[in-house]
């Protein structure tokens, strides 16, 4: 019977791993430069970590990989991490000596069931979180780190879409919807569900007249928001704080030379967030997103600590990068021509000496070595072939081999 790979999972080939590691290293460099420090949380967490915040929707929680552990007779389930941020927030709360502002980053896999099995159920992401800072500069910094990573990877046509959970919430609260209903209602409004819109129209005609400009128009700078502010805040003062915050963020982004699109509708799935929401696209493919989630740490039982963060999605980024760190750099192929411990010992010693000077060297005993790179045959003596050598050259000792390779590498 053929053994198959688990549905919804993928293998990464050496070439794909090289792409993966490239993204990782570029992301790490960007984060480290901005003062973020790497963390890692466990793959297994208690399910209640994710239910306790109320920020993940029942739809998402209904797709987590949860099970009873071997000591789970209490009925307490454990889960394969379905989200990167919540465990980091938990770790932040658990950690007693934390800086006033903690900047963390991580490269992690998350697990969410996907029914067709055609999409990945295990997804990797590069995430960064800033905990303890609530100002617009924090949000702008995170966007900057994300963009820096994407640009360093050579991604083209990068776009940012901005929305604001505070504005969406103020809008939906105006219709008298409970927090639970808000998410569904917003999704239905965005789907153009006329039933929900006409129902809302009856309740609050003034608000519905605001819906259209807010949801349909796209703004390219803070001016767009200021126009909204001028029109609405007198009649709808509940929008004022969120709008003010959004304006300050966009002004700062513009000042740093960053282009963006204000698109309130891009805030679908806002339930997690409390403030700015941003989505990152490259060639119109979504490659990441993030935002401000000030409510999360208090909901987890921590102090009233503001926080925001983002994640870049490994799969689409891997598909978009052309270049990758070449894994194929030529090395030295040490070929054992004779069996016997004495020859083996010499081959291993040669490999160790080459490794010590920073060269890649692989052993071949009975296998065919790749054609590229230098070849060193090991028998009673050595024979060295390779780029730059016109003909195979004999060498009597390891020192002589090193000399030949050293002068030619």
């Amino acid at each position: 019977m053929r053994i198959q790979k688990c549905k919804g999972t993928r293998d990464l080939s050496p070439q794909q791993m090289a792409q993966f590691r490239l993204i990782e290293s570029v992301f790490r460099d960007s984060c480290l430069k901005w003062g973020y420090r790497e963390v890692r949380t466990p793959t297994l967490e208690y399910l209640h970590l994710f239910t306790s915040t109320g920020t993940l929707t029942p739809g998402t929680l209904g797709k987590v990989y949860s099970f009873l552990d071997w000591d789970g007779w209490s009925g307490e389930r454990v889960v394969l991490r379905p989200d990167g941020t919540i465990p980091v927030a938990r770790m932040y709360i658990d950690n007693e000596d934390k800086p006033a502002t903690a900047r963390y980053f991580y490269i992690t896999n998350i697990f969410i069931f996907e029914p067709t099995g055609k999409e990945n159920r295990e997804r990797w992401q590069c995430g960064a979180e800033m905990l303890g800072a609530g100002n617009p500069a924090a949000d702008v910094e995170l966007i900057t780190v994300a963009l820096e990573t994407l640009r360093s990877l050579g991604l083209k046509d990068i776009k940012i879409k901005l929305s604001h959970a505070g504005i969406i919430r103020a809008l939906l609260a105006g219709f008298g919807l409970s927090p639970e209903e808000q998410g569904k209602a917003f999704a239905r409004i965005l789907d153009g569900d006329s039933a929900v819109i006409s129902q809302l129209k009856e309740q609050k005609p003034a608000l519905v007249s605001l819906l259209a400009p807010l949801l349909e128009m796209k703004g390219a700078n803070a001016g767009f928001l200021k126009n909204q502010q001028a029109v609405f805040t007198r009649q709808l003062p509940e929008f004022a704080p969120a709008l003010e915050n959004f304006i300050r963020i966009t002004e700062l982004l513009t000042a740093t030379g960053q282009k963006y699109e204000i698109d309130i509708a891009s805030g679908a799935g806002f339930e997690y967030y409390t403030g700015l929401i941003f989505q990152l696209y490259a060639r119109d493919i979504k490659v990441g997103g993030g935002g401000r989630y000030d409510a999360l740490i208090p909901l987890l039982g921590g102090e009233d600590v503001p926080a925001s963060g983002f994640a870049l999605y490994m799969d689409p980024v891997m598909n978009l990068i052309r270049q990758y760190a070449s894994d194929e750099a030529a090395g030295v192929n040490i070929i054992l021509k004779k069996t016997g411990a004495v020859y083996g010992q010499r081959a291993f010693e040669l490999a160790n000496r080459l490794h010590a000077v920073g060269l890649r060297a692989s052993l071949f005993s009975g296998q065919t070595p790749p054609a590229n790179g230098c070849q060193v045959e090991v028998a009673e003596s050595f024979k060295v072939t390779g780029p730059g050598l016109t003909a195979p050259r004999p060498a009597a000792s390891i020192e002589a081999v090193l000399e030949l390779l050293g002068s030619k590498q």
Binding site: H48, S52, G54, L61, W70, W73, G75, E76
Partner: protein, 468 residues
């Protein structure tokens, strides 16, 4: 010719389903409460394979494609589909009989009157249910911050308020009150019998001739069963920290337990109960007795809901297979209910023992299907004995009817082996022997005073058993 397979229910839906199919002209032979054979012949559709299952097994059997069509309650379809939406059977028709509803219920003795009260609970909300997937869905949709589900074989109504916050239980439509002061907070599903189809069969097989006979047939509405509104004295929850929380079994084990209790000089009131009361009284001082399913007892002792319980060694073993570090220990052999747990295959399988079965598995092109009520135990058995690629099919009784078409191996209990032989099956391995056991939790969970009471009670039981 493509063979069409149909799964029909035994139990509560059997009579109405038989009437419906008679009206549809199927002319079934032997589909009645006597049910001498699980394989039923239809005079109208002689080539159709019809088999009778526990109602709960039918959605699973249709979903995995063993059967093209089935009839069962919507409650069991939803229990499966809410977790495994990709395998959800297609619901073809509401047959409008076997009506009921699923309720989230709490005890009158608890201060929980609405779902808002449930959400406001500071502690973990535990929900006992025969419908664990629907219970989980309910908890997620209510956005409970912290919850635990107790999947139970039955008697979920016995758990609130002291063993679980809520029970998700089935009742008649518009039920107002259940036994033991349990009352519904909200209805989560109204159900009735449905005609269901396997998704692939529905898309690819021609079922029209069969479906045509059912198209315009319906049953005259049967008068609805009277809602259980019998009132019970309020449940007395003994809060004495030294009281022993004892679980006694329901079902056929009761007569044996009563026998032992009699010998021990313990007087019981309302056990066994004709009305379904699950909190009987007794002359045992400082004991708080609840009647639950024996299958559920090991887990309920492990999680600290009960101090002592009576269950079979088989169910303890199944529990330990899932939770090897469970604190459950066997305290005394009650020496009744002897069975052996065996591995069973069809007579024509060329394997006389486990070793030969393993060899067959090694060469097999399809996974070995292992059907059992003991899912954890069977999983461990197949794993430990390297039965290659295998699948566990959970069943709810009448497992011997699964062979050969719906399973390859059974892990079953048997006394004489008679049923197994009658179904043309053979035993290839005996896993262990089982009798009823008195169980408790190991370690030093209790204070000395309670520990002393527990020791006393164990002695009472063991002495009674020793009287023979």
């Amino acid at each position: 010719m493509t063979i069409i397979r149909i799964a029909l229910p035994k139990g509560r839906l059997l009579n109405d389903t038989a009437t419906l199919l008679e009206k549809a002209g199927w002319r079934l032979d032997g589909y009645d409460t006597a049910l001498r054979n699980y394989r039923i012949k239809s005079e109208k559709f002689p080539d159709v394979k019809i088999k009778v299952f526990q109602e709960k097994d039918i959605p699973v059997q249709v979903a995995i494609g063993n059967y093209d069509l089935g009839i069962c309650g919507l409650d069991w379809v939803e229990e499966l589909s809410s977790k495994y939406s990709a395998y959800a059977p297609v619901i073809l028709r509401d047959l409008e009989y076997g009506k009921g509803a699923l309720y989230v219920a709490a005890s009158r003795a608890a201060d929980i009157n609405t779902l808002e009260d449930v959400k406001a609970q500071a502690d973990t909300v535990h929900i006992a249910s025969e419908y664990p997937n629907l219970a989980e869905k309910f908890a997620l949709e209510l956005r409970l911050k912290r919850f635990g589900i107790y999947p139970v074989w039955g008697a979920a109504e016995a758990y609130p308020p002291d063993r679980a916050t809520l029970a998700l239980i089935s009742g008649t439509p518009e039920a107002k009150e259940f036994v033991n002061g349990i009352r519904p907070l909200a209805s989560v599903l109204s159900y009735s019998a449905r005609l269901i189809a396997n998704r692939q069969s529905w898309e690819q097989k021609d079922l029209s001739e069969i479906l045509g006979t059912l198209e315009n047939i319906s049953l005259a509405p049967t008068p609805e069963a009277e809602t259980k509104t019998s009132f019970y004295p309020p449940t007395i929850i003994i809060r004495d920290a030294t009281a022993i929380r004892l679980a006694l079994p329901d079902g056929h084990q009761q007569k044996h337990v009563v026998n032992i209790l009699n010998k021990a000089g313990v007087k019981m009131t309302d056990y066994p109960s004709a009305t379904g009361n699950r909190r009987p009284g007794s002359s045992l001082e400082g004991a708080n007795i609840t009647v639950i399913r024996p299958q559920d007892m090991p887990l309920q002792v492990a999680n600290g809901n009960f101090d002592l319980a009576i269950t079979g060694h088989d169910w303890v073993t199944d529990h330990k297979a899932a939770f090897p570090s469970s604190p459950v220990v066997e305290l005394a052999d009650l020496k009744y209910g002897w069975v052996k747990i065996v591995a069973v295959v069809c007579n024509d399988v060329p394997a006389a023992n486990l070793y030969e079965l393993r060899e067959l598995c090694r060469k097999a092109e399809t996974p070995l299907r292992v059907a059992s009520e003991y899912t954890n135990l069977s999983d461990k058995y197949a794993r430990d004995n390297q039965l290659g690629m295998y699948r566990i099919i959970p069943t709810w009784g009448a497992t011997e009817a699964f062979l050969p078409e719906d399973a390859d191996l059974l892990i079953e209990n048997t006394e004489t082996g008679g049923t197994i032989a009658r179904h043309n099956l053979k035993i290839i391995d005996t896993l262990f022997e089982s009798t009823a056991r008195f169980i408790g939790a190991g370690g030093s969970r209790y204070r000395p005073e309670k520990q002393a009471r527990i020791r006393q009670l164990i002695k009472l039981f063991t002495d009674a058993v020793a009287k023979g």
